[in-house]
């Protein structure tokens, strides 16, 4: 059979296949679309034949392009919808955090050690903190947390400013999480740098608030959203370090393969970190700056710290680890 005969014999089938593929690509399936998988497999056979019988470039390229179009449609991933979201939140995410407990402690140490070091240092010597915050940072802190009354007024007096700050926190803080994750690509150095930087910055701010501002104004503002935001950031760091360590110690896998596997393992962490930081933005935007008695805010913050510990220790424990 020559190339021409082959084409004549099968072209009607190919035309039908192409019409089906085009209709699905456009999102408007035509009747007979259930024949698409069958037509696809027949076309695969035709392509094999045309390659083996050397029917020429033109025909092979044409069939090749048709096969690729069908392949992309038939093998498209169907995401699981709400069920998958619930499973991610209730099982996969806390399980992944528990499985990566070493990274959790590593990233926590990189954050909390400089945080507490500066917090304690503030009691004795402000030089370090002055170096980190700079004059602008310090005057900003004084403006925001100079006194409790000034704080809420300064931040949120205008109409819509709560919403504006919520959006600001989404853009800024979730963006920071994503950068922490991406920093893992530099063998983890970027991730460690960002966490350390945040530890220093936040520790210096807290220390300065204790020493030079109204501590109650500061702590009652940050306590409510602190658990979401700080744990979220540490988890983003875990995701970055998972990739960074795969580059440094790929184990028995080739380095690139190890990196791909690590990125897959890091995904639940990224999802979780992003959601937690969004929750932090909700709290920080609409609750933290409200004129609510400080006692309520401390209780609120403490409750969520406890809930976080419970969630990460217990959630999804009884469920077998599934894909």
């Amino acid at each position: 059979m020559t190339a021409g005969d082959f084409e004549n014999k099968n072209s009607a089938r190919w035309a039908e296949y192409e019409a089906l593929v085009r209709s699905v690509e456009l999102g408007k399936p035509i009747p007979g679309v259930e024949r698409l998988p069958q037509r696809f497999r027949e076309l695969c056979l035709d392509l094999s034949l045309s390659q083996a019988r050397m029917y020429g470039i033109r025909l092979s390229e044409k069939l090749n392009a048709l096969v690729i179009r069908g392949y992309n449609l038939i093998y498209r991933e169907k995401t699981g919808g709400w069920q998958a979201v619930v499973r991610m939140a209730a099982v996969t995410f806390p399980q992944t955090v528990r499985r990566e407990w070493r990274l959790f402690w590593l990233c926590s140490a990189v954050f909390w050690i400089p945080f507490f070091a500066l917090l304690i240092a503030a009691k004795y010597d402000l030089t370090w903190i002055q170096a980190i915050l700079g004059s602008e940072g310090m005057s900003g802190m004084e403006q925001m947390y100079g006194s409790e009354a000034g704080q809420t007024a300064h931040l949120r007096s205008a109409y819509g400013s709560n919403f504006m700050m919520f959006c600001f926190y989404i853009n800024n803080n979730v963006g920071i999480d994503f950068r922490i994750f991406a920093g893992g690509m530099t063998a983890g150095l970027g991730t460690l740098f960002f966490i350390l930087f945040n530890g220093l910055q936040i520790g210096a701010s807290a220390g300065y608030a204790n020493a030079a501002c109204d501590p109650k104004a500061f702590w009652s503002f940050v306590v409510s959203h602190s658990s979401f935001e700080l744990i979220g950031m540490i988890i983003a760091g875990m995701a970055g370090m998972r990739m960074g360590l795969a580059i440094l110690w790929p184990g028995r896998l080739p380095r690139v393969r190890a990196l791909v596997e690590a990125a897959k393992m890091a995904l639940p962490l990224i999802y979780g970190a992003a959601v937690m930081t969004c929750m932090a933005a909700v709290v920080e935007g609409f609750w933290s700056a409200q004129p609510i008695p400080a006692g309520f805010k401390y209780a609120f913050g403490a409750t969520f710290w406890v809930l976080h510990v419970v969630y990460f220790l217990l959630a999804g424990r009884q469920v077998r680890d599934a894909a």
């Binding site: 059979m1 020559t2 190339a3 690509e25 999102g27 696809f40 695969c44 056979l45 392509l47 094999s48 390659q51 019988r53 050397m54 020429g56 470039i57 033109r58 390229e61 044409k62 090749n64 392009a65 096969v67 690729i68 392949y71 992309n72 093998y75 498209r76 991933e77 995401t79 205008a158 109409y159 819509g160 400013s161 919403f163 504006m164 700050m165 919520f166 959006c167 600001f168 989404i170 853009n171 979730v174 963006g175 994503f178 950068r179 994750f181 991406a182 920093g183 690509m185 530099t186 970027g190 990739m243 690139v256 990196l259 791909v260 690590a262 990125a263 897959k264 890091a266 995904l267 990224i270």
Partner: protein
């Protein structure tokens, strides 16, 4: 032939579960930079248009609310615009689509949401130093499949979605069909077929020049060699199986 062609051009042969080998054409950095530029322009246009819209709407909904919405739009355009489009049905941002590109797995299959997230969030590193995309370019040039760092981590490649049809001009039809004097290997048969398919694109002198390399087979040089090779190709393609 397969191994040779992998070395010489950007075609990637992939065997599907259906038992057939498809060929993907990997896209290079230049084209992808063009696609990125288009995406950037689209996003700048969206920022400008929504900025104007929000500043007008700000009179009704309040300046702070409008500013907040602007920040949200900025966030989604920066981080989620490419993820949204690449995880979608077409597997390409508008810029990539307009350049005829698509993001796929090395197996040719469409990418997952997770892969789209990983490859686009790592843009932050690929874009360094500053925003020159120096790391991404270096990684593209150092890898066989033009993968930037985000592609490596996500396990994705950027390919031509529709391979543009090779221009074909019908070669002068062969006057006769003649059986090759010796049994040819599969690669040699394929080379003869390609010679015939492409001969229409070349000048007569170029045709002779190429055919002269096979003068041992045709037993002639110049135009005579060309017509003998064409006759053999004709026999191989049309007569051999009949």
């Amino acid at each position: 032939m397969e191994s040779l062609s992998e070395k010489l051009d950007t075609l990637q042969a992939v065997e599907l579960a259906e038992g057939v080998v498809i060929r993907l054409r990997i896209a290079g950095p230049m084209l992808r930079a063009g696609a990125y530029a288009i995406d950037l322009l689209i996003r700048i246009a969206v920022v400008i248009v929504t900025g104007i819209g929000l500043s007008i709407a700000g009179m009704a909904i309040g300046g702070n609310v409008a500013q907040g919405l602007g920040l949200l739009i900025w966030f989604f355009l920066g981080w989620w615009y490419p993820v949204f489009f690449e995880a979608g049905k077409r597997g390409a941002t508008p810029g990539k689509r307009s350049m005829g590109l698509r993001v796929v797995q090395p197996s040719g299959a469409p990418i997952t949401l997770g892969q789209a997230i990983v490859r686009n969030f790592l843009r932050f590193i690929d874009g360094m130093p500053l925003i020159t995309y120096g790391f991404g370019l270096a990684s593209c040039l150092a890898t066989k499949r033009f993968q930037r760092l985000g592609d490596l981590a996500a396990g994705t490649v950027v390919v031509y979605d529709r391979i543009p049809a090779e221009p074909s001009i019908a070669a002068p039809p062969p006057m006769s069909a003649s059986r090759p004097p010796v049994a040819l290997t599969a690669d040699e048969v394929r080379a003869l077929g390609m010679f015939r398919d492409r001969a229409g694109l070349w000048s007569e002198a170029r045709r002779c020049e190429i055919a002269d390399h096979a003068s041992a087979l045709s037993g002639a040089r110049g135009n005579a060699g060309v017509s003998r090779l064409m006759a053999m190709a004709h026999w191989l393609q049309e007569k051999r199986n009949s």
